[in-house]
Amino acid sequence: MTVAIDRATGERRGDRAPRPGLGRRLKQSYHKHWYAYAMIAPVAIVLGALVVYPLVYGFYLTLTDANSLNTARTIGVNHIDATYQFVGLDNYKDILFGETAYDRFWSHFLWTIAWTVLCVGLHYTLGLGLALLLNQKFRGRTFYRMILVLPWAVPTFVTVFGWRFMLADGGAINAALDWLGLPTPAWLEDTFWQRFAAIMVNTWCGVPFMMLSLLGGLQAIDTSLYEAAEMDGATAWQRFRYVTLPGLRSVSSTVVLLGVIWTFNQFAIIFLLFGKTAPDAQILVTWAYFLGFGQQPRDFAQSAAYGILLLAILIVFTSFYRRWLNRNDQQLAI
């Protein structure tokens, strides 16, 4: 009989006696696990067809000079065959070291790094501050919590338009600044202020998730630890530093990683806030989208190459992050 549940009996894969031959092992493994494979097959097929194959295909595209003028397409009844050519690593060379590489890649790269660091930093500190405030006992904290998660509750594509109205020339924010006698920057035109506005909007959107996750983490900390610390005469700061922060560590390491990945790939906010009007405020994701779909002719090869570079950056970051956590004796879920 096929006993699929072997974790319950504590049996491990390594526990087996001398390994039989490869053929028999495959057969055995099939007999033992066909059911598990049958259950993951649908996911494996969908992911394979729509993620792995596109990834491989996308990688192949980066080695060609494909754009919307030379790929296969059908106009009316005429079918035009693809005429793009294999160019090796030229796209990567061009993106990273080409003539205008700084304007096309490195400036966006630096801005993306700054964007990710600033946004995740702001999300985390503001989220932690609000979580600490909400973790106290006082009347009305449920009410505050309900209002504070509002930016997460309303879909991003709705709230970003609200911000766009407010940031427009003569919109609410500039009117208020003017009334206070402060300078009124051109939020949606000037590069620096565009970046400022993008970070502001993303911070506004992202804090609730951090706040709720950290609040969950705070509530899971054993209160007797605080009592013990207080008995030992720890000040409020010391209790925060030596009880709260270590207690939040596992939640923090997960949400920070998720935050970095999400912010790095944050497409909707910049795309909806500026559209195609702000080439300098585009992070790498939106810039790659612009190359592939926002201009004519559409440059598929370069767009895909940016995508592969982005993925490479994220994978490198994640593995370093994991190693760093492991060195500090922490396990991440991955």
Binding site: G129, Y144, A288
Partner: protein, 300 residues
């Protein structure tokens, strides 16, 4: 609790010492309370303002009213809402949004449940790798996949169809929900599976008849996650949906600005109409959503 409740001396000699009550744990001085209320109020106002402002602007009848919000007070009207409901593609967008989000939710939960169960209960060779693949797919930037996906979908004739977009969304929601459901299935005792097997159920029967009913809360969280993700997605929807009657709300809203570049009052009204039901839905589930999200992330 008993650490700092030293009230007895003060109570015994009230006239000697001016009533100095020692604070209990978790209690703060009035100053600290005022300060936290003030901070939270400011934060709440910041959180509330953009949404409230959008609602306020949606009441102004003229397309440039957002520049003179003061005038809206005198001519507030719900005309924008009436116009949006009667003369725009609102209901087409609603239909396609619903088809796509509900389709993604249903298919996504089914796929995620089977694979989550397989990963949770069966130590098949390669299951760690499978989990890792699920996690890495969440890292994929839109830009890697969107070009090849576009090519593949157009080869298959699925551009501008509901099923095409549903499949694309499934690739983004399934990995996460499978991860989440695996965490939930892990909390259901293995003995239940064994009991079912002893009573002669097939593995699939155990899953459908015993585990799925028990995992209902977890399934609900996964479904909500799928729903909210599919509803708010922008990049794929604006690339793969070409005809305006198949736009989802995320794309439809943009068309107010890019086509006419003026009808901001209508856009605000549509935005509010979209936001109300979704936010209500969100509030119903938000607590479960957060526990689900972090539990799936930390337990592994």
């Amino acid at each position: 609790m008993s650490t700092t409740t030293v009230e007895t001396p003060a109570a015994q000699a009230p006239e000697a010492t001016p009533r100095r009550r020692t604070r209990r744990r978790g209690e703060r001085g009035p100053l600290a309370t005022v300060a936290s209320h003030a901070l939270l109020t400011v934060a709440s106002l910041i959180a509330l303002f953009p949404v409230a402002w959008l609602f306020f602007l949606s009441l102004g009848p003229d397309k440039d009213d957002y520049l003179h919000p003061g005038q809206i007070w005198h001519k507030m009207t719900f005309d924008n809402y009436a116009f949006v409901l009667q003369h725009t593609d609102f209901f087409d967008w609603l239909k396609s949004s619903l088809i796509i989000t509900l389709g993604t939710t249903a298919i996504g939960v089914i796929l995620a449940a089977t694979s989550g169960y397989a990963v949770s209960r069966m130590c098949f060779p390669g299951y760690r790798k499978f989990m890792w693949v699920l996690l890495v797919t969440q890292m994929f930037p839109v830009a890697v996949l969107i070009v090849p996906m576009y090519q593949i979908l157009s080869d298959l004739g699925l551009i501008d169809t509901y099923i095409g977009l549903i499949l694309v969304y499934c690739t983004t929601v399934v990995p996460y929900s499978a991860w989440l459901l695996k965490g939930y299935f892990d909390t259901i005792p293995f003995e239940i599976d064994e009991a079912g097997r002893v009573d002669g159920l097939t593995p699939f029967g155990t899953f459908v008849r015993l585990i799925l009913p028990l995992a209902r809360p977890g399934l609900a969280v996964a479904a909500f996650y799928n729903f909210l993700t599919a509803f708010g997605e922008v990049a794929f929807a604006s690339t793969f949906m070409l005809s305006s009657d198949k736009y989802t709300f995320a794309v439809g809203l943009q068309s107010f600005i890019s086509e006419h570049d003026a009808q901001r009052n209508l856009m605000a009204a549509t935005a509010v109409l979209v936001a109300i039901p979704v936010s209500a839905f969100f509030y119903l589930v938000q607590k479960n959503l957060v526990t689900g999200l972090t539990a799936g992330g930390t337990k592994g």
